[in-house]
């Protein structure tokens, strides 16, 4: 039984996805996502009773490894990518939270 996709609330989804959309974007994406979802809904036609989901194509079991300490990335090089970082203190910096 095919399921009709409900109207997608783009503002709510953008909030969950942490995207501050402009009003124009809300309008454009509402139309586009509705048409993409209507198409994607065709998967509902398939009888999948008792079919296990594939989350990963790997045939092998996850591998264990020994917990051996090794050098990590250079802190200075990592912080060089961080906007407004407190590099000397070795800290990322974000706007005031509290």
């Amino acid at each position: 039984m095919a399921l009709t996709p409900p109207a997608i609330d783009v503002r709510r989804i953008a909030g969950l996805a942490r995207l501050a959309l402009t009003p124009d974007e809300v309008e454009l994406f509402s139309t586009q996502l509705a048409s993409i979802l209507a198409y994607a809904t065709t998967v509902q036609e398939v009888d999948t009773a008792g079919v296990p989901p594939t989350s990963h194509p790997l045939s092998h079991e996850p591998r264990w490894r020994d917990d051996v300490p090794a050098p990590s990335l250079d802190r200075e090089e990592v912080l060089a990518n961080a906007p407004d970082a407190a590099a000397r203190a070795g800290l990322f910096k974000v706007p005031k939270v509290l």
Binding site: I13, L16, A17, I36, E45, L58, H60, E77
Partner: protein, 486 residues
């Protein structure tokens, strides 16, 4: 004289025999890029100094030469090189300088290859034309007003226009095979787990694989061998011996069983593409292969399945771009949430936002079972279809794409139409299988057509052997776009 038309293997031989030097080869490639890139826009970044330094070091090297000694190679701009910019085609990473090397970079350099630059790609690999790059599209060398395909379009152009003999791309739903087909070169997506993804900027982690573009199947085989194998830094890389792929190229495909899912060749396939495909099947038969019809009943659901699975994974993978660690932050944030929301809105392009939102939606409470879980179940059925088919055949043949290269701008207004063009390429990554595209003809407008062969898991050797025999027998792989020959 360093001839840019030489294959990777010929270049290596010329350097090893002393006919030329790694430095001269590198300089010739850089000159050619400088001359052609303004028109083709294959490269986003060229690091001439790094490349020449590396080539000079190779010329002084005392150790025996590696399998790619002195061979210039281009990387899709979603594989990181320490100390250099990697943007993944996104404004949000425009200023990001990687503090480490991707495993493929380390392995290529250990094999003697010289990385000359980073190629244009759709933003975070989301696209089929390079038009979703924040830095502008690449142009198809066969017709400059046409798309090279994507997302690894710049890498396909680099090889098709003889800028470099080899390039790496990454393939999630066809991003190596589709541009290879549209640009008339060889492109291989390996089995999931064959090549380490460490240092590949993630799009959809259960689908992404790195693979080579080349003008000859031999070069693709040598390159694949160099980058393959287990990597302690990628837990999904497989503990399996890497075959000597070049030795698989015997030229003999007598008895090879080729399955053709004829039920997929319905409407939407351009007549010239179909003609080229049928001729390629006849050629394979003349080479000793046997043809039969196979059924892949769930492949008609492959596109919706792919877009549900890939966008769900993307919405999670791209959560990390929050304005804290990767170079770009919106100006003057008033609070933490404001910084996140505006950084992501200003930093991401439209297609990336669409896919993040679609993925967020299909994972959200109330829709997870109906979309994401359902797609994962259909993915199992798609995989099983291939298992059944491979009980009776060795490879599955299809055209790589339903049409030849489309015009830039032609499909940008309707994202769904762009998605539908992935119809023949999305199944292999969903099933984790290896697949190759090789040139198999030209349309009346002189645009390349690709033949796609999909193989059993870990059986790249058979794909390479069949492709090698086919490309040696046919003229298509050695045809070059007009105006490219120097």
């Amino acid at each position: 004289m360093a001839d840019p038309l030489l294959s990777a293997c010929e270049i290596r031989e010329a350097i090893v025999s002393g006919t030329t030097s790694a430095e001269a080869v590198c300089q010739a490639a850089l000159d050619r890029i400088a001359e052609e890139n303004p028109r083709l826009h294959a490269f986003h970044l060229v690091d001439a100094e790094r490349a020449l330094t590396r080539a000079q070091a190779l010329d002084r090297q005392a150790e025996p030469p590696g399998p790619l000694h002195g061979v210039p190679i281009a990387l899709k701009d979603n594989m990181v090189v320490r100390g250099s910019t990697t943007t993944a085609g996104s404004k949000i990473l425009e200023r990001h300088v990687s503090p480490f090397d991707a495993t493929v970079v380390a392995r290529l350099e250990a094999a003697g290859a010289v990385v000359v630059g980073k190629t244009i790609c759709d933003e975070f690999s989301m696209g089929s034309s390079t038009e979703n790059s924040a830095f502008g599209p690449a142009h198809n060398p066969w017709a400059l007003d046409r798309a090279p395909g994507g997302s690894s379009g710049g890498s396909a152009v680099a090889v098709a226009a003889d800028l470099t003999p080899l390039a790496l791309g990454s393939d999630t739903g066809g991003s190596i095979r589709q541009p290879a087909a549209l640009c008339g070169v060889v492109g291989l997506k390996p089995t999931y787990g064959r090549v380490s993804r460490y240092g590949l900027i993630a799009y959809a982690s259960s689908l992404d694989q790195i693979g080579p573009f080349a003008r000859t199947v031999t070069d693709a085989a040598v390159c694949l061998e160099a980058i393959s194998g287990v990597d302690p830094l990628d837990a999904t890389s497989a503990v399996r011996p890497v075959p000597a792929f070049r030795e698989a190229l015997t030229g003999d495909i007598n008895g090879l069983r080729v399955g053709v899912p004829r039920h997929l060749l319905g409407e939407g396939v351009e007549p010239d593409v179909l003609t080229a495909f049928e001729e390629s099947l006849a050629q394979l038969e003349q080479l000793g292969a046997t043809l039969s019809t196979v059924e892949l009943p769930h492949s008609r659901y492959a596109i919706p399945t792919y877009y549900l699975v890939a966008t769900a994974e993307a919405s999670s993978n791209l959560a990390r771009y929050d304005g804290v660690r990767y170079g770009f932050r919106a100006a003057g944030p008033t609070a933490l949430d404001d910084m996140y929301d505006r950084t992501r809105d200003e930093g991401f392009g439209a297609e990336v936002k669409r896919r993040i939102m679609l993925g967020t939606y299909v994972l959200s409470a109330g829709y997870y079972d109906a979309y994401y879980l359902k797609a994962q179940q259909v993915r199992t059925l798609i995989r099983r279809d291939f298992e059944h088919a491979f009980a009776g055949v060795d490879v599955v043949a299809l055209p790589t794409t339903p049409t030849a290269a489309f015009r830039l701008g032609e499909r940008t207004a309707d994202p769904l139409q762009m998605y539908l063009a992935d119809v023949f390429t999305v199944s292999a990554p969903l099933a984790g299988l290896p697949a190759i595209s090789v040139p198999c003809g030209l349309t009346r407008e002189r645009l390349p057509v690709g033949l796609q062969l999909t193989g059993r898991a870990w059986d790249e050797a058979t794909l390479l052997r069949a492709s090698d025999a086919y490309t040696r027998r046919t003229p298509w792989a050695s045809m070059r776009p007009a105006g490219v020959r120097p």
